[in-house]
Amino acid sequence: MNLRPEAGRPTEKLRCLVIQLARIGDTLQSLMALRAAKQLYPELEIHFLARGRFAQAAKRVPWIHSVIEFPSDSILAPVLKGEKREIDALRDLAKWIAPLVQKPWDLIVNWSFSEASSYITGLLPGRIKLGYTRRMDNTFASADAWTNFVQAVVQGDLPQNIHLTDILTTQLLTALQIHMGDPRSDGNMPVTSKTFFSLDPKLSSKASALLNSNKKWVAIQLGAALESKTWPVDRWAKTVEYLLERQSEYQVVLLGSAEEKVKAAEFINLLPPVLRNRIRSLVGETDFDLWASVVAKSRWLLSGDTAAIHLASVLGTRVVNISVGPVKWVETGPYGNGHYVIAPKNTCNACVAPGSGTTHNCKTDVTPEAVFATWSYAATEWNHRRTLKIEDHFSVLGWRHHLGQVQVRRSMIRTTETGGGVHYEPLTQIELSLNEWTSMVTGQIARNWYCGWVPPMGQDLIRTAIGTDLIQKLRILTEPLEVLTKIIDEAIASSTTLHHRSSKMKSPKLVDLALKSELNEIAIKLQDLDLLLDRMGITHSSLRLFSRMSKVLMHNLKGSDISTLGKESKDSYKQLKEGATMMKEWIAHTLSLARPVALKTADIVRLRPGTEVPL
């Protein structure tokens, strides 16, 4: 389907509806992806559907054509309180949706990735749909390939290393390129900027008045949506104490919701009185415009996993993200160049098994000293130009031991040739766990599946990051991966037979008994192979990618007859085979990196006669 008007015709607008029923953080990530699409395809007329209380950000984006608010509170709250019957709420819903179904949309992009949102995508007429939707029989379906990946891997809580903003951007741009051809502009404009939003000038001036322009401001977002992701207030206070004591030109502005006022008061009480006049608390006092104005005017934002990191990313304010709790910073960390992520090095049992009663070690592993040292390293980059190692910076501060339990990473946007998207470069010595290794390989497999190319294998694999534990686990993984490949080969062969044999059927209703029995046998065999794939995923976490993807792919086959379904199954298994082959190559590559290498004579330095030391 070609959506682009023919040459010579005046440029027509392409009506695009973006559905984002999740929270403000997801809205901000969606806006960043949309900015890239709008720059490349200016003919996009973007309409943004969001819940009323999270719609403010989209309303402040000048290139968003309209913002449609979903009144979830007014429709749902009365039903939940028992004040209204469901049938009445249904009537309200029908009334609300009526204007949206009147004219078909050229493109509907559902970035909510929720079951509820799939109904709305199913309901609305659209020439092209991306994201979760409903089939004609109203059953759940994903409309496109990237959505399959999100369903199987991202929402399946499997490790992968492509940032969500990059997934959304690639998903939309790929679809646009297929339907509209190559973009008209080169797209080399920055996606983030201080002027991303068109904010209320009064509130922008208020922010300027609140934040003395002679000082440098650091914004701190105190809380997080979940307690498990919240760094303790005493740790925040200690960090700020270091910052204010050692950096006289800085002031701190506190940000947070009204529910965090008690926390803010506690924070201020914990600070030495002499420093308190250098703190300005706006906790509970900011609407979206003031919040965005303050973040835009701040030099730095220090925050846990909150929407504020996405806001700062959009505005180009640099971030130090204290990533504690059950968080996947690689998927939802700050986006752009020069942001820092500080995260625990070791697995936190309370994060892995919530409700187990264990405490969050992650929160104590990340110390105020480590956070301050990371920030001061980042804030003086212009001075040391990153020729200074972060370990040495910690040593100068006398806090080298605080680096033991954490990893520090710096974000960078990579060129397309080296993988594209945001990458978090490790600044500290890391030893890859099997989970992290699987995350890298899964990202590589996804790029191969959906982008058709991959950056050079192992470009992010550093020899020193490969420890004995990983080597042992990869050696163990070799055999089950071999078994998995055989299962997939069998499935390819069976579905090929199913396709060929069923194509001989004269009609789906008229099948001779022998053929029917043969087709039944093949179907049973395929079911058994699926069960085996499932078991492989249960037993070996690194192989779960294949079992989950298999389920999602099979659920989303579109054929209406056995022959087509057989062909689609064969193609899907071939896709899995491609992925399994890549994983094998990665194992071989990783193990080869870990092999001892003979030193050349030229690499030996003679210190004293008889004592040779490798360079």
Partner: protein
């Protein structure tokens, strides 16, 4: 090309198809799913107060 890769373009529908859809069933599903989403939030709020 694998089926999944050929689906990068998204789901395509020629012309409006809502006439053939059971709109009321979809709306009811939407409402029920939204109410389900609210349940954990409600429980979370109740347990924290």
């Amino acid at each position: 090309m694998a089926t999944d890769q050929s689906r990068l373009e998204g789901e395509m529908n020629e012309g409006p198809s809502n006439e053939e859809r059971d709109v009321m069933a979809l709306l009811a599903g939407f409402l029920r799913a939204l109410l389900e989403e609210q349940k954990p939030l409600k429980e979370q709020n109740e347990s924290s107060t």
